[in-house]
Symmetry: C2
Subunit: 449 residues, 2 copies
């Protein structure tokens, strides 16, 4: 298809880029080998990830350098020696910092390339796997062995998924991982063929490239059973215990499903390179819908997205629950950050009339006589005295009171910043105008946009 | 006290009135005896109630004529013969109609007196009691034997309770019955002494004039245990199984408690003969409180108060519950009838913005493709497709929809009339203006009014 060629021209690394990538990675591996030798460590440097598999997109080349230790190495030894070795490689590369996943690892940059230096075990099979990253070695090997020249098809699929915002297995995306796209291409042979079979894929649901359901039925069926609520079950060719698509959400699979159908009917470049969504005036939307926007803005804490975004989500849902309890209807939620972090709540109203029923004591008591004497109007329901007054309450006051009384479930690291948040009614600062429009108009979620 | 004399002048039947009452009741009993003889029924006519006990208020004299059958009579026989006999007495008196309580009985009028003709068993002791009305014979006898000339004190107490709206044991009043006022006077000797002891009464709580707790401890303590949530436990002098005050609510006892204290401090004629509550403009109250009034008006069904008012209460509470579920806050309820029956709801708002979230089908289906095609904006949550639109909804529309869908719990006999009800917003017809004012201003419940 002419269109796909046009896309490939944009996303396939040029010969020149490939040469640079190859040269640089070779240098990096060389430096690693030197450091290993110098230190006398028994580890092997291994390139993994999309560069190793040659499935990276033009201009998008992070180097994943794994340091594979013998299986006999103890976990402490691996952590300690691995980190030390990483640091000295990082030093040689220029500069580094230590990052934390299951184990600490080193992040560095070299000649404009981001380099992650990650210690792991030198596993030969899934039975050897001890840490979460070990499997990457096997993934890389398996893909290289099976990709069979369809690397560009993977690139098309990756770009397509990026275009429709369904790429990435991060907890705040819950889309398709790089490895999953590779397996889908290996299964279906080409990007277009995958798209042709998206209904079949959704219905058959299970992909088992290595025939684990035959070879290791007990383990593989356990995986299927455990993952039965997932939209896809792709049994990892290198590990029957794992569903490669376990992070994929129904939402993101659904977006892919509909976009695949649309692309088949009307293939357009925009699927791969979507124009910025058209935006408009959020105030118009508010007027049209008759709803209201409450925005909390506060300084973005120094947290990586994997931690910050789930905590923002949790906090937004905490506000939803607490405000519902206070009699406000919350129609939808939005969160994120631009310069500062924000939580947006679309609500039915910004003021409530509250008739404050003042419950008094039960009436056979001294305090009851007091209450009776002090209030102008008093009546009895059950054994208790009551009086009342009516007040108008702004949702801002209600939120401030909820926060002061710790009656909103908030993300752990956001409690303090949210207490200091600015609370804006039907108004956002310029940095959030577009976000507010996309949220209120639903264009943010609209698949048909 | 001079004031009490003044009250008694108004409420004590004059000699002339007494003579008429005596003459008329004698005639009625005479007619009953003739009919019994004519029919050859073995029943004895017995006068019970406030005329028999001489505790009636001037101008307030309904005749309770009981037809006491021997204990051997079967229940069917009693019902049948009792009703027939009642009808022929009623015919002799002029006209009659049949009314229904536990058993059918006859209501008639004679020379301006209302006459209830009720068949019962001629019981001598609580152990004989078979039907709910039998005990009245024993009550009348006991009061006559023990009243000891304090009849006018009973009259003062009755009038006082009427003045503060705490008289009557009907289910929609839950106040002091006539028999309970008599027992309270017999216990405390006088109206003023009862008032002096109201705190003590509230705390000691138990009155046992016949010493049942000694004579029949097992039965009497069971009564106390069963009634322990009542504000008063007055063990029936003629039946240890019964709390004479069991119908008395905490509310009505509370009103009595506070009014008794106030009267002791500042005795005034108004306690006995309260002026009509001062009324005002309900629209002003609405404006001041910022709340809203929803009134349903419909033709009053032909039902006695004992049935109609509890059903109106049940229906009002049904609306409260359903509207809360729909997102409206209901602050207070009122019900009753003037010319027509009404239910009033004080609510926080009369319009809601409702973002109609249109849930579609799950997306791996033919219907999902349809939904996707037909809606302008579509997104996915979980496996499901969604679209939305926002609408403004009036509480009137919401109520009409709730009624159309049978989603309000209504009193059994009110379902049809309420479906035809007019629903008024922040406006009532002239007949209800005063009611609306008293309700919204809380003067209706205000004890201090």
């Amino acid at each position: 298809m002419e269109l796909l060629k046009e896309v490939l021209e944009k996303i396939k690394p040029s010969e020149k880029e490939r040469a640079i990538v190859n040269a640089v990675t070779k240098e990096i591996v060389g430096i690693a080998e030197e450091e290993i030798e110098k230190k006398g460590v028994s580890a092997t440097p291994r390139l993994v990830g999309s560069i190793a598999k040659d499935t990276y997109l033009a201009g998008d080349h992070d180097v994943d350098l794994f340091l594979a230790f013998p299986l006999e190495t103890s976990l402490e030894e691996l952590r300690k020696t691995g980190l030390e070795l990483g640091k000295s490689i990082g030093e040689r590369l220029g500069h580094y910092e230590v990052a934390y996943a299951e184990h600490p690892y080193v992040r560095s940059t070299y000649k404009g390339f981001e380099v992650d230096i990650v210690p792991c075990y030198n596993v030969k099979s899934w039975k050897d796997v001890k840490t979460a990253v070990d499997r990457s070695l096997l993934h890389t090997e398996w893909v290289i062995k099976n990709i069979n020249g369809r690397n560009d098809e993977v690139r098309l699929l990756k770009r397509f998924l990026k275009g429709i915002k369904a790429y990435g297995s991060e907890v705040y995306v819950r889309g398709f991982s790089g490895y999953l796209t590779e397996l889908l291409i290996i299964k279906y042979g080409s990007f277009m063929n995958l798209l042709e079979n998206v209904e079949f894929l959704g219905k058959s649901k299970i992909i088992d490239l290595e025939g684990w359901l035959r070879k290791e039925p007990e383990i593989a069926y356990k995986t299927v059973e455990r993952e039965k609520e997932s939209p896809l079950i792709v049994i990892d060719p290198v590990d029957p215990r794992r569903n490669v698509a376990s992070a994929l959400s129904w939402e993101k699979f659904g977006v892919f499903y509909f976009k695949a159908r649309e692309f088949r009917e009307k293939p357009r470049l925009e699927f791969f390179f979507p124009p910025k969504k058209e935006t408009g005036d959020y105030k118009e939307i508010l007027k049209k819908k008759g709803t209201h926007l409450v925005t909390l803005i506060f300084p973005k804490p120094e947290l990586i997205d994997d931690i910050l975004l789930p905590q923002l989500e949790r906090s937004a849902k905490g506000f939803e629950k607490s405000l519902k309890r206070e009699g406000f209807e919350v129609f939808d939620l939005n969160w994120g950050y631009v310069e500062r972090a924000f939580i947006m709540l679309e609500v039915d109203r910004v003021e409530r009339t509250k008739v404050l029923l003042k419950p008094g004591p039960e009436f056979l008591s001294e305090r009851a006589l007091d209450f009776y004497a002090k209030n102008q109007k008093v009546w009895i329901r059950g054994k208790r005295l009551y009086s009342e007054k009516a007040v108008k309450e702004s949702i801002v006051d209600v939120i401030e009171e909820l926060l002061a009384k710790n009656q909103v479930a908030l993300g752990k690291n956001l409690r303090e910043p949210i207490k200091e948040a600015e609370i804006l009614l039907n108004f956002v600062p310029p940095e959030l105008e577009e976000e507010a429009y996309l949220f209120l108009s639903k264009e943010k979620w609209n698949i048909k946009g």
